[in-house]
Subunit: 357 residues, 4 copies
């Protein structure tokens, strides 16, 4: 259950305080250029310690390739990427060793597995998302070969919403802001929360462009179902919208339908997916992250002995997980699409004839 | 890709105008009472033709059991449920044979498979959800044995939102309304749309109660990820929220965190899931359906020859798919939970010792 | 666990004395001609009651298509095939209701599931193989489109072995004999066993010809591993050999190696598979079936109350399951290959470029 | 396709001349003692360079644990084991860079993937089996907790067959010989082949004891089907027999049936499996390995340019892969059983009630 995808299949491993995290990517087609620098640059985007808007923990997050690449190309064998953990001190966790941090997974992991890995989040730590990001970099290179582009950025923080989407600008923004006119207000929302020892939620926008019609495997691996599952599976995500999203439930059919003319769709309320299959229009996804549960204010909780306790967290934490979540959501979208691209390959006799003659 | 679940695994089959639809359910534990009347009663809830709020198409939707049951009990063999289609006339579709209905899956199925099954929705028809509902009835009986309850109802239609949730009342309501004080306004929204030849969107609330902590398989089959994938995979769903949902992205950590005392959680913003694993609190899901794309107003579209055309739909359609969608979302939640219940069985040595001594 | 294959995925259902058996085939590429007569003709080959060498039970085994086919072509939707059982009387089983027939699955199913379906073999009945055969017919049609041929026949019965392989002759033989010079002796072995109230084992040869190099998915879905698993999973199979088989363990490398010249392999000890991937040479498989456990001689066994009992079976049974097993082994080989053909489609960038340009 | 198992799921990675090989084991129940020394001792059994009966290549094969273990116990998170390659020189392969070694996977990997990793076997190298062995050690510890024992040894080499099976003796034998009276002749067969620059085939016997009735998941993950697939998937295996094996095809039902009395089975021709489910009797498997294809005699082959060439291999190779294959077959049997043990956990309501009350 630590694997994602069917044909482009990523298995991640590692805990926040173990010796290494990483992933094995099975199903990468042979002959794809594997660009180590690009993988590293993608991982660096979510690296902690870069700005005041993220946790100040330092990790070099250096990616190593163990297998599956020969002379710069994928060989068809599984590709293994590993990142050794440097910052394994868990002193920060001494005072919470036996209690369950509110709105963290401490409680549920303990209830499920009967084991308490008190050194931070263990397997449930956001640290694991570095492995997703590394895998996502390979997926993006595969998609690029067929023209498909996956972009993302911060749409809203603490309710301050973008009014325009500039994905190029987002790349240069310290908080991946999509709307430069809202960036300052969004940054202020993060810093205000941080200064108060609190945190704040946010919303990420992911756009997939230049995708052909036909991707998605009905009925139980639809493109929208798979994307929603992928996004909701990211730490801290509480809602996923595609196209018109929540608003679609308030509209009339005459307002929400995407009529067509001979050149194609005249609108894109659908967000690029109909019947679980891509239409060729842009796929638009909104991913809503809750505020970081790690706050420094005094909180009440339970300990392992079932007693009520009060405590305050120490350490360094992201005041807004949505910011770095933008990189992770981008990677998960790429992984989902890469899988769909491979799965679609055998779906018609026409495709098979192209391959096997 | 027509299968759902890992251990409690449902494979559905059938098209709107084929001879039968149905499902094969693999992994039902041996020794579960299989109650035909209950299955039929669940399927009847989503049966067309019952009220003026649903399509007037008539189908008896009589469920037959082909396999897997002996003397009223599941045997461990796959259970096959079939519903023969009675209403296979596709006259209504003559005028749309070669054109793509806006916001339907006609276009995308054609682009993917190169085949045009012009007799209604074919595989993408909502008719397939009868099979999900039948399978869901068996899942619900399994869950009930362990006290787990899955309930659902209409939360909003066309923006008219419930202010209270009464799942018992919803069972008796023609539109499965959760709030009797809003029911009339919600009914009016449906009928107004219907009379205008239009349709309207809506939102369903699903609540899973009395669930123990520990269900959900991290990291790529988390309970919230799986539920979101299941819900977004239902025809017409465009957004899924869990717990605080979209609103979580606007809150501070101090507002959204669920603090605990020795008796458990003091609030439930999480909606019963942390780290992808159930907390034991109620699981609260909102599922947003777009308005039915089948409307009777004149619309523009493309035909198979890539020409712009105008047309008007004929036939009988639900003015609000969310209403019957309530039954389907309920079934999908039950199927997801049943799978998690089985998957969890082998996750600790303690569990295995209970079984194997 | 009632599904076979990854991309060409067959789920079978049904018991010997239920109302229907059948299968759902998911992943059939859209646009394949689905020939009902051919499917029926394949199923008829293993139909009981045809000759004195098989059981005298009568079943018309008429195959119905429920879904997935439109105007003679596969649509990409799951194809459902069903065969209704006509001969559901289980009188023959009255005297064995509470005892475990030696070398049948009665005992193990009871121990696993705690349920006793005493009406014949239930799910473990050879009757289920009719569904495999029907699915195999579709797989064979797919393979044929790319020139691949799957043939089979009886190699040995009771130790009487063929010395030459004539697959065309086998088609006309009542016992599917591969060597007409051995056919009479093999028939005699069957009839002698039958007259003595006994049964006899046999060996099937399956040959896959005109296959291209490159099929098979290393390392845990190798072509030989998958074929061996498929064959050993057929009722009554106790050994599987590929190429030189058992004999390879007695040879020197210099004897067993297949040297090459510029035209290709100079021998085929490998049986057409190296490193789990097809070489392009014929794939040669021997499948060894035990004698039918259903014999009419007095036998000792245990009953459900754990008592020692003596009994004699009644009813009609195949004196040699290998004969009809030839048809089943053929179908399983075809299903395995069809899956490999689809899985291979996405394994290189070159293939993907052929599809997506 | 580099993963094995459903619930106890092992994904292996790495090539003979890459930087590391290893595996990720997903589904290990939380709370199992993970004994590093035991894992290392199992891996050491198949380590090259130990005796004159194996290749003289030196590798320390030191296993590192990256994840999934905390304070000596499995946590429920994926366990990653890695072995760094020390001996990455591929000088020995200079003269075969562009030609296909007969009966190796060079040819088929090139045909499938279009990539030539000429540094030895690459992904198809037997080196990968070190990862299987490490994973198998964890599986064996799990099985031991429930009393199940997996043993193996050399049954035959070059046709010299054991007449008795002493698994304890095999542990102390340099060639894992099961019959000390045949050991010298078997050793001689290996050394004779080695001195002649040739190699020799062999047969391994695997015995699984003290297993309860009920393991195996019909119909397409039967215990015998899964074991056969696992064994045939090991490099160089050409035949698999269970119980009476090939011989069953020559017997009468009256000879092959295992009659019972109140104490259980009176014989074990079945080799411990009926209907794909364990009977409780010992599971007996014979695994036939071909002779090592790497021989030093002059051979003819094809090169990448499709020319006929003659060549002689250099380097160090096992003269009989069956010897170390004994360790690998043992591991694969353990992995198969561990998966079945977990899969079986949810198969009856009785089991679920034991867990969930």
């Amino acid at each position: 259950m630590n694997s994602f995808g069917v044909k482009f299949r990523v298995t991640t491993f590692g805990e926040s305080h173990g010796s290494a995290i990483g992933c094995v990517i099975d199903g990468v087609p042979a002959g794809l250029e594997i660009d180590e620098e690009y993988i590293q640059s993608e991982v660096d985007k979510r690296k902690p310690g870069l700005t005041k808007f993220a946790t100040q923990r330092k990790e070099s997050d250096s990616v190593q390739i163990f297998s599956g690449v020969f002379e710069g190309l994928s060989t068809g064998a599984p590709i293994t990427l590993a990142i050794f953990n440097e910052n394994q001190k868990s002193n920060d966790y001494e005072n919470i060793k036996s209690l369950f941090r509110p709105s963290h997974a401490d409680f549920t992991y303990f209830k499920k597995y009967g084991i308490r890995d008190y050194r931070g989040g263990g397997r449930s730590s956001a640290r694991e998302t570095a492995a997703r990001t590394a895998a996502g970099a390979i997926a993006k290179k595969l998609l690029e070969k067929f023209g498909i582009k996956v972009q993302s950025g911060v749409f809203a923080i603490g309710g301050v919403e973008a009014e325009s989407l500039d994905f190029e600008y987002a790349k240069t923004s310290e908080i991946f802001a999509l709307d430069r006119l809202k960036e300052e207000a969004q940054k202020a929302a993060v810093l205000n929360a941080k200064e108060a020892g609190d945190s704040v939620g946010g919303c990420i926008f992911v756009k997939i462009s230049n995708i052909r019609a036909g991707f998605g495997e009905p009925l139980y691996n639809k493109l929208d179902g798979a994307l929603a599952g992928a996004m909701m599976g990211i730490n801290g995500v509480k809602a996923v919208e595609i196209g018109e999203g929540v608003n679609a439930s308030k509209l009339k059919g005459s307002e929400n339908n995407d009529q067509m003319d001979k050149t194609g769709f005249m609108s894109n309320h659908a967000g690029g997916i109909l019947g679980g299959i891509s239409t060729g229009a842009d796929i638009d996804i909104k991913v809503h992250f809750k505020p970081t549960p790690s706050i420094f204010l005094k909180q009440r909780t339970q300990n392992e002995q079932n007693e009520s306790v009060e405590f305050s967290l120490k350490g360094r934490h992201d005041p807004c997980i949505a910011v770095r979540g933008s990189v992770v959501a981008n990677a998960m979208a790429a992984l989902t699409l890469a899988d769909m691209l491979l799965l679609n390959a055998s779906c018609t006799m026409d495709n098979l004839k192209k391959i096997y003659g």
